[in-house]
Amino acid sequence: MQDVIDPSILQALLLTTELATLTTFLLLILGAPIAWWLSRTNNILKYPIKALVTLPLVLPPTVLGFYLLLILGPGGAVGHLTQSLGLGTLAFTFWGLLIGSLIYSLPFAVQPLQNAFEAIGPRPWEVAQTLRAGPWDAFFSVIFPLARPGFYIAGVLSFAHTVGEFGIVLMIGGNIPGKTQVVSTQIYGFVESMDYAKANQLAGLMLLFSFLLLLPMTIWGQKERNKLSV
Protein backbone atom coordinates (compact mmCIF):
# COMPACT_ATOMS: atom_id res chain seq x y z
CA MET A 1 0.00 0.00 0.00
CA GLN A 2 2.64 2.47 1.05
CA ASP A 3 4.36 2.16 -2.32
CA VAL A 4 1.20 3.20 -4.08
CA ILE A 5 -0.30 5.64 -1.62
CA ASP A 6 1.39 8.72 -0.31
CA PRO A 7 2.09 8.39 3.46
CA SER A 8 0.52 11.78 4.08
CA ILE A 9 -2.70 10.38 2.63
CA LEU A 10 -2.61 7.46 5.08
CA GLN A 11 -1.96 9.88 7.89
CA ALA A 12 -4.96 11.99 6.94
CA LEU A 13 -7.15 8.89 6.60
CA LEU A 14 -6.12 7.69 10.04
CA LEU A 15 -6.77 11.09 11.60
CA THR A 16 -10.17 11.32 9.93
CA THR A 17 -11.17 7.89 11.23
CA GLU A 18 -9.97 8.76 14.71
CA LEU A 19 -11.84 12.05 14.72
CA ALA A 20 -15.07 10.57 13.34
CA THR A 21 -15.03 7.60 15.73
CA LEU A 22 -14.39 9.73 18.79
CA THR A 23 -16.97 12.32 17.71
CA THR A 24 -19.61 9.64 17.14
CA PHE A 25 -18.94 7.98 20.46
CA LEU A 26 -19.11 11.24 22.41
CA LEU A 27 -22.13 12.51 20.50
CA LEU A 28 -24.17 9.41 21.34
CA ILE A 29 -23.35 9.91 25.02
CA LEU A 30 -24.01 13.67 24.94
CA GLY A 31 -26.89 13.57 22.48
CA ALA A 32 -28.94 10.95 24.32
CA PRO A 33 -29.72 13.04 27.43
CA ILE A 34 -30.40 16.13 25.32
CA ALA A 35 -32.72 14.19 22.99
CA TRP A 36 -34.37 12.50 25.96
CA TRP A 37 -35.04 15.80 27.66
CA LEU A 38 -36.36 17.34 24.43
CA SER A 39 -38.68 14.38 23.85
CA ARG A 40 -40.15 14.45 27.35
CA THR A 41 -40.26 18.02 28.55
CA ASN A 42 -43.03 20.58 28.36
CA ASN A 43 -40.63 23.24 29.59
CA ILE A 44 -40.78 26.49 27.65
CA LEU A 45 -36.98 26.32 27.26
CA LYS A 46 -37.48 23.32 24.97
CA TYR A 47 -37.90 25.52 21.90
CA PRO A 48 -34.84 27.79 22.23
CA ILE A 49 -32.70 24.77 23.12
CA LYS A 50 -34.00 22.80 20.18
CA ALA A 51 -33.23 25.78 17.92
CA LEU A 52 -29.74 26.06 19.40
CA VAL A 53 -29.03 22.37 18.82
CA THR A 54 -30.28 22.65 15.24
CA LEU A 55 -28.27 25.81 14.52
CA PRO A 56 -25.22 24.01 13.05
CA LEU A 57 -27.56 22.61 10.40
CA VAL A 58 -28.22 26.01 8.87
CA LEU A 59 -25.16 28.09 9.75
CA PRO A 60 -22.30 28.08 7.23
CA PRO A 61 -19.55 25.93 8.79
CA THR A 62 -17.15 28.81 8.36
CA VAL A 63 -19.25 30.94 10.68
CA LEU A 64 -19.12 28.25 13.36
CA GLY A 65 -15.42 27.75 12.75
CA PHE A 66 -14.78 31.46 13.01
CA TYR A 67 -16.52 31.79 16.37
CA LEU A 68 -14.81 28.69 17.71
CA LEU A 69 -11.48 30.09 16.62
CA LEU A 70 -12.21 33.28 18.53
CA ILE A 71 -13.36 31.45 21.67
CA LEU A 72 -10.63 28.79 21.67
CA GLY A 73 -7.89 31.13 20.50
CA PRO A 74 -5.47 32.98 22.83
CA GLY A 75 -7.86 35.96 23.20
CA GLY A 76 -11.02 33.88 23.79
CA ALA A 77 -12.64 32.82 27.03
CA VAL A 78 -11.86 29.13 26.63
CA GLY A 79 -8.42 30.02 25.32
CA HIS A 80 -7.68 31.95 28.53
CA LEU A 81 -8.85 29.04 30.61
CA THR A 82 -6.83 26.39 28.77
CA GLN A 83 -3.75 28.61 28.85
CA SER A 84 -4.03 29.24 32.58
CA LEU A 85 -4.28 25.46 33.04
CA GLY A 86 -1.05 25.14 31.10
CA LEU A 87 -2.68 23.37 28.18
CA GLY A 88 -2.00 26.07 25.60
CA THR A 89 -4.77 26.90 23.18
CA LEU A 90 -6.99 24.33 21.53
CA ALA A 91 -7.13 26.11 18.19
CA PHE A 92 -5.16 24.24 15.51
CA THR A 93 -5.03 21.06 17.58
CA PHE A 94 -6.84 17.72 17.33
CA TRP A 95 -8.89 18.60 20.45
CA GLY A 96 -10.01 21.82 18.83
CA LEU A 97 -11.08 19.79 15.80
CA LEU A 98 -12.98 17.41 18.06
CA ILE A 99 -14.87 20.24 19.78
CA GLY A 100 -15.73 21.72 16.39
CA SER A 101 -16.94 18.33 15.11
CA LEU A 102 -19.04 17.72 18.19
CA ILE A 103 -20.87 21.01 17.79
CA TYR A 104 -21.17 20.71 14.02
CA SER A 105 -22.63 17.16 14.06
CA LEU A 106 -24.76 17.57 17.21
CA PRO A 107 -28.09 17.90 15.33
CA PHE A 108 -27.34 14.69 13.41
CA ALA A 109 -27.15 12.78 16.67
CA VAL A 110 -29.95 14.54 18.55
CA GLN A 111 -32.62 14.51 15.85
CA PRO A 112 -32.78 10.72 15.19
CA LEU A 113 -32.55 10.00 18.93
CA GLN A 114 -35.34 12.43 19.71
CA ASN A 115 -37.47 10.85 16.97
CA ALA A 116 -36.80 7.39 18.39
CA PHE A 117 -37.65 8.44 21.96
CA GLU A 118 -40.84 10.14 20.79
CA ALA A 119 -41.85 7.06 18.79
CA ILE A 120 -41.50 4.90 21.93
CA GLY A 121 -43.80 7.25 23.83
CA PRO A 122 -44.01 7.64 27.60
CA ARG A 123 -45.66 4.29 28.34
CA PRO A 124 -42.68 1.84 28.43
CA TRP A 125 -40.86 4.25 30.75
CA GLU A 126 -43.87 4.40 33.07
CA VAL A 127 -44.32 0.63 32.98
CA ALA A 128 -40.67 0.19 33.95
CA GLN A 129 -41.15 2.53 36.93
CA THR A 130 -44.17 0.56 38.13
CA LEU A 131 -42.03 -2.60 37.92
CA ARG A 132 -39.56 -1.04 40.41
CA ALA A 133 -36.96 0.05 37.87
CA GLY A 134 -35.27 3.33 38.85
CA PRO A 135 -34.47 5.92 36.17
CA TRP A 136 -31.04 4.57 35.11
CA ASP A 137 -32.25 1.00 35.17
CA ALA A 138 -35.34 1.93 33.11
CA PHE A 139 -33.23 3.78 30.57
CA PHE A 140 -30.70 1.03 29.99
CA SER A 141 -33.02 -1.97 30.23
CA VAL A 142 -36.03 -0.57 28.37
CA ILE A 143 -35.50 2.71 26.55
CA PHE A 144 -32.06 1.92 25.09
CA PRO A 145 -33.05 -1.44 23.56
CA LEU A 146 -36.30 0.00 22.22
CA ALA A 147 -34.49 3.01 20.74
CA ARG A 148 -31.65 1.00 19.20
CA PRO A 149 -32.57 1.83 15.59
CA GLY A 150 -32.43 5.51 16.54
CA PHE A 151 -28.96 5.02 18.04
CA TYR A 152 -27.78 3.32 14.83
CA ILE A 153 -29.07 6.11 12.64
CA ALA A 154 -27.60 8.75 14.96
CA GLY A 155 -24.25 6.93 14.91
CA VAL A 156 -24.11 6.51 11.14
CA LEU A 157 -25.13 10.12 10.48
CA SER A 158 -22.70 11.58 13.03
CA PHE A 159 -19.84 9.52 11.63
CA ALA A 160 -20.61 10.32 8.00
CA HIS A 161 -21.15 13.97 8.71
CA THR A 162 -17.86 14.27 10.60
CA VAL A 163 -15.96 12.59 7.78
CA GLY A 164 -17.59 14.97 5.33
CA GLU A 165 -17.04 18.26 7.15
CA PHE A 166 -14.72 20.79 5.60
CA GLY A 167 -15.26 24.43 6.44
CA ILE A 168 -15.12 24.10 10.18
CA VAL A 169 -12.02 21.89 10.26
CA LEU A 170 -10.25 24.27 7.93
CA MET A 171 -11.07 27.23 10.18
CA ILE A 172 -10.30 25.64 13.53
CA GLY A 173 -7.72 23.06 12.50
CA GLY A 174 -5.74 24.96 9.92
CA ASN A 175 -4.96 21.92 7.75
CA ILE A 176 -1.65 21.04 9.49
CA PRO A 177 -0.36 17.73 8.04
CA GLY A 178 -0.23 14.92 10.63
CA LYS A 179 -1.94 17.08 13.21
CA THR A 180 -5.16 18.53 11.92
CA GLN A 181 -5.13 17.63 8.26
CA VAL A 182 -8.11 15.41 7.54
CA VAL A 183 -9.05 13.87 4.22
CA SER A 184 -11.41 16.62 3.11
CA THR A 185 -8.88 19.39 3.71
CA GLN A 186 -6.09 17.38 2.18
CA ILE A 187 -8.04 16.92 -1.06
CA TYR A 188 -8.52 20.65 -1.12
CA GLY A 189 -4.76 21.10 -0.65
CA PHE A 190 -3.96 18.76 -3.53
CA VAL A 191 -6.34 20.59 -5.83
CA GLU A 192 -4.90 23.96 -4.77
CA SER A 193 -1.40 22.77 -5.70
CA MET A 194 -2.74 21.34 -8.98
CA ASP A 195 -1.83 17.77 -7.91
CA TYR A 196 -4.94 16.24 -9.53
CA ALA A 197 -3.52 12.70 -9.53
CA LYS A 198 -3.26 12.58 -5.73
CA ALA A 199 -6.55 14.40 -5.29
CA ASN A 200 -8.14 11.80 -7.53
CA GLN A 201 -6.52 8.93 -5.62
CA LEU A 202 -7.69 10.28 -2.28
CA ALA A 203 -11.17 11.19 -3.45
CA GLY A 204 -11.64 7.72 -4.93
CA LEU A 205 -10.33 6.08 -1.78
CA MET A 206 -12.66 8.24 0.27
CA LEU A 207 -15.64 7.20 -1.81
CA LEU A 208 -14.88 3.52 -1.35
CA PHE A 209 -14.01 3.94 2.33
CA SER A 210 -17.25 5.77 3.17
CA PHE A 211 -19.34 3.31 1.23
CA LEU A 212 -17.77 0.29 2.92
CA LEU A 213 -18.22 1.88 6.32
CA LEU A 214 -21.84 2.76 5.79
CA LEU A 215 -22.92 -0.49 4.14
CA PRO A 216 -22.69 -2.85 7.14
CA MET A 217 -24.25 -0.24 9.39
CA THR A 218 -27.24 0.24 7.14
CA ILE A 219 -27.73 -3.55 6.80
CA TRP A 220 -27.43 -3.91 10.55
CA GLY A 221 -29.84 -1.05 11.18
CA GLN A 222 -32.42 -2.53 8.82
CA LYS A 223 -32.18 -5.88 10.58
CA GLU A 224 -32.76 -4.21 13.92
CA ARG A 225 -35.77 -2.34 12.60
CA ASN A 226 -37.21 -5.55 11.15
CA LYS A 227 -36.70 -7.30 14.45
CA LEU A 228 -38.60 -4.62 16.33
CA SER A 229 -41.49 -4.44 13.88
CA VAL A 230 -42.17 -8.19 13.87
Binding site: R123, E126, T130, L131, R132, A133, G134, L228
Partner: protein
Protein backbone atom coordinates in the same frame (compact mmCIF):
# COMPACT_ATOMS: atom_id res chain seq x y z
CA UNK B 1 -53.27 -8.50 54.78
CA UNK B 2 -54.54 -6.41 57.67
CA UNK B 3 -55.06 -2.74 57.85
CA UNK B 4 -56.59 0.09 55.99
CA UNK B 5 -55.79 1.80 52.74
CA UNK B 6 -56.22 5.54 52.93
CA UNK B 7 -55.86 7.74 49.87
CA UNK B 8 -56.49 11.46 50.01
CA UNK B 9 -55.64 13.51 46.93
CA UNK B 10 -56.16 17.01 45.76
CA UNK B 11 -54.84 18.21 42.46
CA UNK B 12 -55.73 20.59 39.67
CA UNK B 13 -56.67 19.33 36.23
CA UNK B 14 -57.15 21.76 33.38
CA UNK B 15 -60.94 21.46 33.46
CA UNK B 16 -61.58 20.92 37.18
CA UNK B 17 -60.02 20.12 40.52
CA UNK B 18 -59.73 16.52 41.69
CA UNK B 19 -60.49 16.14 45.39
CA UNK B 20 -60.97 12.64 46.73
CA UNK B 21 -60.74 10.87 50.03
CA UNK B 22 -60.87 7.09 49.70
CA UNK B 23 -60.69 4.49 52.43
CA UNK B 24 -61.00 0.77 52.05
CA UNK B 25 -59.83 -2.34 53.83
CA UNK B 26 -56.63 -4.03 52.76
CA UNK B 27 -57.38 -6.98 50.52
CA UNK B 28 -60.49 -5.40 49.09
CA UNK B 29 -61.26 -4.22 45.58
CA UNK B 30 -62.41 -0.62 45.30
CA UNK B 31 -63.93 0.35 41.95
CA UNK B 32 -63.75 3.88 40.61
CA UNK B 33 -66.80 4.48 38.51
CA UNK B 34 -67.75 7.49 36.44
CA UNK B 35 -68.02 8.89 32.94
CA UNK B 36 -64.85 9.33 30.90
CA UNK B 37 -63.08 12.52 31.84
CA UNK B 38 -64.28 12.40 35.43
CA UNK B 39 -60.72 12.01 36.74
CA UNK B 40 -60.47 8.25 37.29
CA UNK B 41 -57.20 7.74 35.41
CA UNK B 42 -55.77 10.91 36.96
CA UNK B 43 -56.41 9.43 40.41
CA UNK B 44 -54.73 6.11 39.55
CA UNK B 45 -51.68 7.90 38.14
CA UNK B 46 -51.44 10.04 41.25
CA UNK B 47 -51.64 6.98 43.51
CA UNK B 48 -48.86 5.30 41.52
CA UNK B 49 -46.79 8.48 41.62
CA UNK B 50 -46.60 8.73 37.83
CA UNK B 51 -48.15 12.21 38.06
CA UNK B 52 -48.01 12.77 41.81
CA UNK B 53 -50.62 15.05 43.33
CA UNK B 54 -49.29 18.24 44.84
CA UNK B 55 -51.27 17.63 47.98
CA UNK B 56 -51.79 14.05 49.04
CA UNK B 57 -51.79 11.52 51.80
CA UNK B 58 -51.42 7.92 50.65
CA UNK B 59 -51.14 5.17 53.22
CA UNK B 60 -51.38 1.65 51.89
CA UNK B 61 -51.76 -0.90 54.67
CA UNK B 62 -49.43 1.08 56.93
CA UNK B 63 -46.88 2.08 54.28
CA UNK B 64 -46.87 5.82 53.67
CA UNK B 65 -46.18 6.53 50.01
CA UNK B 66 -46.94 10.18 50.13
CA UNK B 67 -47.60 12.71 52.85
CA UNK B 68 -47.48 16.27 51.65
CA UNK B 69 -47.65 17.64 55.19
CA UNK B 70 -44.29 15.99 55.90
CA UNK B 71 -42.92 16.44 52.35
CA UNK B 72 -42.81 12.70 51.81
CA UNK B 73 -43.29 11.59 48.21
CA UNK B 74 -41.82 8.28 47.11
CA UNK B 75 -41.00 7.91 43.41
CA UNK B 76 -43.06 5.33 41.53
CA UNK B 77 -40.26 2.77 41.59
CA UNK B 78 -40.22 2.87 45.42
CA UNK B 79 -43.98 2.41 45.78
CA UNK B 80 -45.11 -1.16 46.19
CA UNK B 81 -47.61 -0.75 43.38
CA UNK B 82 -48.71 -2.85 40.43
CA UNK B 83 -50.20 -1.04 37.46
CA UNK B 84 -52.18 -2.59 34.63
CA UNK B 85 -52.64 -0.01 31.90
CA UNK B 86 -55.57 0.34 29.57
CA UNK B 87 -53.77 -0.82 26.46
CA UNK B 88 -51.13 -3.48 26.02
CA UNK B 89 -47.94 -2.41 27.73
CA UNK B 90 -45.80 -5.51 27.20
CA UNK B 91 -42.18 -4.55 26.43
CA UNK B 92 -41.77 -5.31 22.73
CA UNK B 93 -38.03 -6.07 22.98
CA UNK B 94 -38.65 -8.93 25.42
CA UNK B 95 -40.76 -12.04 25.09
CA UNK B 96 -43.40 -12.93 27.65
CA UNK B 97 -40.90 -14.72 29.87
CA UNK B 98 -38.51 -11.76 29.63
CA UNK B 99 -41.33 -9.42 30.62
CA UNK B 100 -42.16 -11.53 33.67
CA UNK B 101 -38.50 -11.91 34.68
CA UNK B 102 -38.11 -8.13 34.40
CA UNK B 103 -40.51 -7.81 37.32
CA UNK B 104 -39.04 -10.74 39.28
CA UNK B 105 -35.48 -9.37 39.03
CA UNK B 106 -36.48 -6.05 40.57
CA UNK B 107 -38.65 -7.48 43.32
CA UNK B 108 -37.07 -6.66 46.68
CA UNK B 109 -38.28 -9.91 48.19
CA UNK B 110 -36.50 -12.99 46.99
CA UNK B 111 -39.22 -14.87 45.20
CA UNK B 112 -39.46 -18.58 45.31
CA UNK B 113 -39.75 -20.32 41.97
CA UNK B 114 -42.94 -21.69 43.38
CA UNK B 115 -44.50 -18.23 43.58
CA UNK B 116 -43.51 -17.54 39.98
CA UNK B 117 -45.05 -20.80 38.88
CA UNK B 118 -48.22 -20.15 40.86
CA UNK B 119 -48.75 -16.75 39.23
CA UNK B 120 -48.07 -18.23 35.78
CA UNK B 121 -50.58 -20.96 36.52
CA UNK B 122 -53.10 -18.54 38.02
CA UNK B 123 -53.22 -16.55 34.79
CA UNK B 124 -52.72 -19.55 32.54
CA UNK B 125 -49.86 -18.10 30.49
CA UNK B 126 -47.31 -20.90 30.59
CA UNK B 127 -47.59 -21.67 26.88
CA UNK B 128 -47.16 -17.99 25.97
CA UNK B 129 -43.63 -17.75 27.44
CA UNK B 130 -41.61 -17.64 24.18
CA UNK B 131 -44.01 -15.27 22.39
CA UNK B 132 -43.53 -11.57 21.70
CA UNK B 133 -46.24 -8.95 22.15
CA UNK B 134 -47.47 -8.83 18.51
CA UNK B 135 -48.08 -12.59 18.58
CA UNK B 136 -50.49 -12.33 21.51
CA UNK B 137 -54.21 -11.59 21.48
CA UNK B 138 -55.46 -8.54 23.35
CA UNK B 139 -56.72 -10.70 26.19
CA UNK B 140 -53.47 -12.66 26.47
CA UNK B 141 -51.49 -9.42 26.60
CA UNK B 142 -53.55 -8.16 29.52
CA UNK B 143 -53.16 -11.47 31.35
CA UNK B 144 -49.39 -11.20 30.93
CA UNK B 145 -49.53 -7.60 32.14
CA UNK B 146 -51.52 -8.65 35.21
CA UNK B 147 -49.10 -11.50 35.97
CA UNK B 148 -46.12 -9.17 35.53
CA UNK B 149 -47.65 -6.65 37.94
CA UNK B 150 -48.37 -9.39 40.49
CA UNK B 151 -44.77 -10.62 40.30
CA UNK B 152 -43.59 -7.38 41.89
CA UNK B 153 -45.56 -8.48 45.01
CA UNK B 154 -47.49 -5.21 45.12
CA UNK B 155 -49.39 -4.07 48.19
CA UNK B 156 -51.83 -2.34 45.88
CA UNK B 157 -52.80 -3.33 42.35
CA UNK B 158 -54.12 -0.51 40.16
CA UNK B 159 -56.09 -1.43 37.05
CA UNK B 160 -57.06 1.24 34.56
CA UNK B 161 -59.93 -0.15 32.50
CA UNK B 162 -57.86 -3.24 31.70
CA UNK B 163 -60.57 -4.66 29.42
CA UNK B 164 -61.36 -1.57 27.39
CA UNK B 165 -58.82 -2.38 24.68
CA UNK B 166 -59.95 -6.01 24.49
CA UNK B 167 -62.60 -6.88 21.90
CA UNK B 168 -66.08 -7.42 23.30
CA UNK B 169 -66.28 -11.17 22.87
CA UNK B 170 -62.64 -11.60 23.98
CA UNK B 171 -63.29 -10.06 27.40
CA UNK B 172 -63.86 -13.61 28.59
CA UNK B 173 -60.16 -14.18 27.99
CA UNK B 174 -59.42 -11.89 30.94
CA UNK B 175 -62.36 -11.39 33.28
CA UNK B 176 -62.50 -14.97 34.69
CA UNK B 177 -58.77 -14.74 35.47
CA UNK B 178 -59.24 -11.41 37.20
CA UNK B 179 -61.95 -13.04 39.31
CA UNK B 180 -59.49 -15.81 40.10
CA UNK B 181 -56.89 -13.28 41.19
CA UNK B 182 -59.53 -11.68 43.43
CA UNK B 183 -60.42 -15.05 44.93
CA UNK B 184 -56.98 -16.53 45.43
CA UNK B 185 -54.81 -13.54 46.33
CA UNK B 186 -56.03 -11.22 49.02
CA UNK B 187 -54.62 -8.16 47.35
CA UNK B 188 -55.86 -4.59 47.58
CA UNK B 189 -57.07 -3.26 44.25
CA UNK B 190 -58.31 -0.03 42.78
CA UNK B 191 -60.17 -0.84 39.61
CA UNK B 192 -61.24 1.83 37.13
CA UNK B 193 -64.13 0.80 34.91
CA UNK B 194 -67.34 1.87 33.33
CA UNK B 195 -68.59 -1.64 32.73
CA UNK B 196 -71.34 -2.73 35.07
CA UNK B 197 -70.43 -6.34 34.44
CA UNK B 198 -66.81 -5.86 35.64
CA UNK B 199 -68.01 -3.77 38.56
CA UNK B 200 -70.44 -6.37 39.86
CA UNK B 201 -68.09 -9.30 39.33
CA UNK B 202 -64.98 -7.80 40.93
CA UNK B 203 -65.66 -4.93 43.29
CA UNK B 204 -66.32 -4.96 47.03
CA UNK B 205 -66.87 -1.23 47.25
CA UNK B 206 -67.31 1.55 44.77
CA UNK B 207 -66.69 5.29 44.54
CA UNK B 208 -68.79 7.11 41.96
CA UNK B 209 -66.95 10.09 40.47
CA UNK B 210 -68.08 13.15 38.63
CA UNK B 211 -65.86 16.11 37.71
CA UNK B 212 -63.10 14.95 40.02
CA UNK B 213 -65.31 14.59 43.08
CA UNK B 214 -66.88 11.59 44.75
CA UNK B 215 -70.64 11.65 44.39
CA UNK B 216 -71.23 8.56 46.46
CA UNK B 217 -69.03 5.91 47.99
CA UNK B 218 -69.51 2.69 49.90
CA UNK B 219 -70.27 -0.98 49.81
CA UNK B 220 -71.04 -2.08 46.25
CA UNK B 221 -74.42 -3.61 47.01
CA UNK B 222 -75.63 -0.64 48.99
CA UNK B 223 -74.43 1.92 46.47
CA UNK B 224 -75.90 -0.05 43.58
CA UNK B 225 -79.34 -0.41 45.13
CA UNK B 226 -79.57 3.06 46.64
CA UNK B 227 -78.26 5.07 43.71
CA UNK B 228 -79.17 3.02 40.68
CA UNK B 229 -79.18 6.32 38.87
CA UNK B 230 -75.44 6.53 38.39
CA UNK B 231 -75.29 3.13 36.86
CA UNK B 232 -78.29 3.08 34.57
CA UNK B 233 -78.57 6.28 32.66
CA UNK B 234 -80.00 4.38 29.71
CA UNK B 235 -81.93 2.04 32.03
CA UNK B 236 -82.03 -0.70 29.42
CA UNK B 237 -80.17 -3.24 31.51
CA UNK B 238 -80.94 -1.98 34.99
CA UNK B 239 -80.43 -4.55 37.68
CA UNK B 240 -79.83 -5.03 41.37
CA UNK B 241 -77.26 -7.16 43.10
CA UNK B 242 -78.13 -9.56 45.84
CA UNK B 243 -75.49 -11.07 48.09
CA UNK B 244 -76.53 -13.79 50.45
CA UNK B 245 -75.67 -17.06 52.14
CA UNK B 246 -76.77 -20.48 50.97
CA UNK B 247 -79.27 -21.32 53.72
CA UNK B 248 -80.82 -24.59 52.55
CA UNK B 249 -80.82 -26.93 49.61
CA UNK B 250 -83.45 -29.01 47.89
CA UNK B 251 -81.55 -31.91 46.39
CA UNK B 252 -84.66 -33.44 44.86
CA UNK B 253 -85.19 -30.45 42.53
CA UNK B 254 -81.55 -29.34 42.44
CA UNK B 255 -82.26 -25.97 43.99
CA UNK B 256 -80.66 -23.95 46.77
CA UNK B 257 -82.03 -21.10 48.78
CA UNK B 258 -79.99 -18.03 49.56
CA UNK B 259 -80.94 -15.76 52.40
CA UNK B 260 -80.28 -12.03 52.19
CA UNK B 261 -81.43 -8.86 53.87
CA UNK B 262 -84.63 -8.55 51.84
CA UNK B 263 -85.75 -12.18 52.09
CA UNK B 264 -84.70 -15.34 50.33
CA UNK B 265 -84.45 -16.62 46.78
CA UNK B 266 -84.35 -20.08 45.21
CA UNK B 267 -81.60 -20.66 42.66
CA UNK B 268 -80.36 -23.51 40.52
CA UNK B 269 -77.92 -25.59 42.56
CA UNK B 270 -74.41 -25.65 41.12
CA UNK B 271 -72.82 -27.73 43.87
CA UNK B 272 -72.95 -24.92 46.37
CA UNK B 273 -72.12 -25.54 49.97
CA UNK B 274 -74.33 -24.49 52.83
CA UNK B 275 -73.13 -21.18 54.25
CA UNK B 276 -71.33 -20.19 51.08
CA UNK B 277 -71.66 -16.53 49.99
CA UNK B 278 -73.19 -16.00 46.56
CA UNK B 279 -73.72 -12.84 44.57
CA UNK B 280 -76.47 -12.74 41.97
CA UNK B 281 -77.70 -10.10 39.58
CA UNK B 282 -81.40 -9.62 39.01
CA UNK B 283 -82.39 -7.66 35.93
CA UNK B 284 -85.30 -5.24 36.29
CA UNK B 285 -86.91 -6.83 33.25
CA UNK B 286 -86.96 -10.22 35.05
CA UNK B 287 -89.00 -8.84 37.96
CA UNK B 288 -92.77 -8.51 37.58
CA UNK B 289 -95.37 -7.09 39.93
CA UNK B 290 -98.71 -8.50 41.16
CA UNK B 291 -101.12 -6.84 43.54
CA UNK B 292 -102.18 -10.11 45.18
CA UNK B 293 -100.12 -13.01 46.46
CA UNK B 294 -99.99 -15.30 43.45
CA UNK B 295 -100.97 -18.88 44.30
CA UNK B 296 -100.93 -20.55 40.94
CA UNK B 297 -97.65 -19.48 39.38
CA UNK B 298 -94.63 -21.19 37.90
CA UNK B 299 -92.39 -18.59 39.40
CA UNK B 300 -90.55 -19.82 42.49
CA UNK B 301 -89.51 -16.53 43.99
CA UNK B 302 -92.23 -14.24 45.25
CA UNK B 303 -91.37 -11.42 47.65
CA UNK B 304 -93.61 -8.87 49.39
CA UNK B 305 -92.68 -5.19 49.08
CA UNK B 306 -93.75 -1.58 49.05
CA UNK B 307 -93.46 0.76 46.04
CA UNK B 308 -90.94 3.55 46.67
CA UNK B 309 -90.90 5.28 43.33
CA UNK B 310 -92.24 4.97 39.79
CA UNK B 311 -89.93 6.53 37.24
CA UNK B 312 -90.32 7.34 33.56
CA UNK B 313 -87.84 5.74 31.18
CA UNK B 314 -86.64 6.77 27.74
CA UNK B 315 -89.47 5.02 25.98
CA UNK B 316 -92.93 6.39 26.92
CA UNK B 317 -94.36 2.86 27.26
CA UNK B 318 -91.97 1.87 30.06
CA UNK B 319 -91.76 2.56 33.76
CA UNK B 320 -89.12 1.63 36.32
CA UNK B 321 -90.58 0.77 39.71
CA UNK B 322 -88.39 0.79 42.81
CA UNK B 323 -89.70 -1.54 45.46
CA UNK B 324 -88.60 -1.80 49.08
CA UNK B 325 -88.44 -5.36 50.41
CA UNK B 326 -87.61 -5.10 54.12
CA UNK B 327 -84.96 -2.48 53.44
CA UNK B 328 -83.63 -3.98 50.23
CA UNK B 329 -84.48 -2.14 47.03
CA UNK B 330 -85.51 -4.11 43.96
CA UNK B 331 -86.05 -2.72 40.48
CA UNK B 332 -88.87 -3.86 38.24
CA UNK B 333 -89.38 -2.75 34.66
CA UNK B 334 -93.04 -2.77 33.69
CA UNK B 335 -95.20 -1.12 31.04
CA UNK B 336 -96.95 2.15 31.71
CA UNK B 337 -100.23 0.38 30.93
CA UNK B 338 -99.64 -2.14 33.75
CA UNK B 339 -99.00 0.71 36.17
CA UNK B 340 -102.34 2.16 35.16
CA UNK B 341 -104.31 -1.11 35.12
CA UNK B 342 -102.93 -2.38 38.45
CA UNK B 343 -103.25 1.12 39.96
CA UNK B 344 -99.65 1.06 41.12
CA UNK B 345 -98.65 4.08 43.17
CA UNK B 346 -95.98 5.03 45.67
CA UNK B 347 -96.63 3.47 49.08
CA UNK B 348 -98.75 0.58 47.84
CA UNK B 349 -97.93 -2.94 49.03
CA UNK B 350 -97.39 -5.40 46.21
CA UNK B 351 -95.72 -8.74 45.44
CA UNK B 352 -92.64 -9.14 43.32
CA UNK B 353 -92.12 -12.21 41.14
CA UNK B 354 -88.46 -12.83 40.34
CA UNK B 355 -88.20 -14.88 37.20
CA UNK B 356 -84.46 -15.42 37.07
CA UNK B 357 -81.22 -14.41 38.65
CA UNK B 358 -77.74 -14.54 37.15
CA UNK B 359 -75.00 -15.91 39.34
CA UNK B 360 -71.95 -13.64 39.56
CA UNK B 361 -69.64 -15.31 42.05
Amino acid sequence: MHGLNHIRLSLQKSAFAVEVNLQFNAGQCLALWGPSGSGKTTILRAIAGLDPALNAYINIGGEVWQDSSRSVCLPTSKRSVGFVFQEASIFSHLNVEGNLKFAVKRNQKSLSGEFFESIVRLLDIKNLMPKFSPQLSGGERQRVAIARALLTSPKLLLLDEPLSAVDGHKKDEVLPWLERVRRELAISMVYVTHSLDELTRLADSVAVLSQGRIVTQGNLLEVLSSTGDHFHRDSQDSSVLVEGLVSQSDPKWHLVQIAFKGGSLWLRDQNFKLGQTLRVKINASDVSITTELPRQTSIQNVLPGVILEIRHLNHPSERMVRVDCQGFVFLSKVTARSVDQLELRVGRSIWLQVKSAALLK
